[in-house]
Amino acid sequence: MNELAAQHPLVIVVLPKVVILLFVMLTALAYLTWFERKVVAHIQARWGPYRVGPHGLLQPLADGVKFLFKEDVTPAGADKFAYFLAPFLALSLAITSIAVIPFGPKGLTMFGQPTPTGITNLNIGLLILFAITSMGVYGVALAGWSSNSKYPLLGGLRSSAQMISYELALTMSVVGVILMAGTFNLSEIVTAQQDFYFGFVPRWNLIGSPMPQVLGFLLFFVAAVAETNRAPFDLAEAESELVAGFHTEYSSFKFAMFFMAEYASMITVSCLATILFFGGWLSPFPQTPLFAWSHFIPAAAFAAAGLALIVHGVRYLTVFGRIVLPVLGAALCGVGVLCGQPGVIEFIQGPFWFLLKIAVFLFIYVWVRGTLPRFRYDQLMNFGWKVLLPLSIVNVVVTSLLIVLTQR
């Protein structure tokens, strides 16, 4: 097996990683819809999905089945080719971008072949992400145009204008980080942040030296929310004005693909924010003997979550829930025990902190959607061009100035 892997590393080592990551990603997308509905519901003092499975946990599955069996309508006079192309383009581009994200520090060894944690480690990883983001406009624009209907056309036009405008601020806002790290390689950007102030305050780029990128991060996050067409910048699908915007005419699984694309880009942006400004997979605790206990945080967190789920599950309303929730809890406890084993404990540190930070960003995404009202279109354009872009240029100038001054 090891010899075979050495001869065909692409098929035997990379392909399984792609398949596993794709599976994890699609499941995460499905449960992100559940997460968003739950969080928004609680923000609005509702319960959210509760009927399909305990706490609505099987709701994504039910939705998926429903999408598959709905009638797939193509509007009369639609441009067939572009109408079919748009959702595929949107989803495939959104999912592809996960390929360059590094999930952990050390490479894995599969069948005797060293390979990075994540699908690949590119020198131009960040640029590839921006390239994919910039291509993402086509899905929305083509969907709006090809539907042969006025609301989608308006939605498509709006979102193309919006995405062009905010892409500038998005790209400019990370230049400060690139200047400080001196590379486009996402793994190296993370390792450049591994120092600590006074031995215990992590020197992530957000508070890095010589120029803390607080402004850069705020600009990045605002521009990224706009770039992914999420509330409060979801002008492309403003329900009160445009029915559902660019995907009004889409039904069945094509509609679901747009939905999944939106969530996939949310995940990508959260990964990017974590890598660029919050130290990626780095633990917030220094790797010194004093903080050796921090290695057991992943195991303890999983075990605690599992125990809580068991205690809550045995008192659940339905019999089904009383069976499923404790089983899930026991599984989580098992994961916790596994994470405490030597060998696994070193490996899990990176992915655990990375996923935890991503989860925080995803929550912020949903939180913002649940609390802020939508922008008006002219406000949106003015904000992008007259506030975000100048501020991001200021950030670049000040950062580069400080770097030059401190290097002397």
Partner: protein
């Protein structure tokens, strides 16, 4: 002898040429624009094959991602319809076709002659650092001059557009 590099080159080259032909043959402006995007992405792949990572990424970000989005945006905004195809004029048939053939033959001849004299390509990937050092040290004057020229063109376009509006 077909190495993976040559196979990838052939596929990308075929895609680029097919996209370019489709760009001309398509009747609808949006389909033409989409074909142009295919050409540009295929070209980016070719750059990547040459080890020019940065140029490849910039090709996609700037050309495929920004300029073509503007093209599509304008086509959508004007809601341009399908073009009527006229029968080729007699002049085009009797003068244009031979001229095109002669031109293609000439290009093929000179490329064939030039490639026989070419040395081996760059041994490894050109790093972004080297490229930027070259751009901002050695060629900083032409670089800044070009950006200045683009700025002037931009302002000129803005002035022209504004004048039309006030009439």
């Amino acid at each position: 002898m077909i190495t993976p590099q040559i196979a990838i080159f052939l596929v990308l080259a075929a895609v680029a040429v097919a996209g370019a032909v489709s760009l001309i043959l398509q009747r609808h402006p949006i389909h033409s624009a989409l074909s142009l995007i295919v050409v540009m992405v295929a070209l980016a792949g070719l750059y990547l094959l040459q080890g020019a990572e940065f140029v490849a990424a910039v090709q996609i970000i700037v050309y495929a991602g920004a300029i073509m989005v503007l093209f599509i945006f304008v086509i959508m905004l004007l809601n341009a319809g399908e073009e009527e195809r006229t029968n080729a004029s007699r002049l085009a048939r009797f003068v244009g076709v031979p001229l095109a053939v002669v031109f293609l033959a000439e290009v093929a001849f000179w490329i064939g002659r030039a490639t026989s004299q070419l040395g081996p390509g760059p041994p490894e990937a050109v790093s972004t650092r080297d490229l930027s050092a070259l751009l901002f040290r050695e060629y900083v004057f032409p670089f800044e001059l070009t950006s200045f020229l683009i700025l002037i063109a931009l302002l000129g376009a803005l002035v022209l557009a504004r004048r039309e509006e006030s009439d």
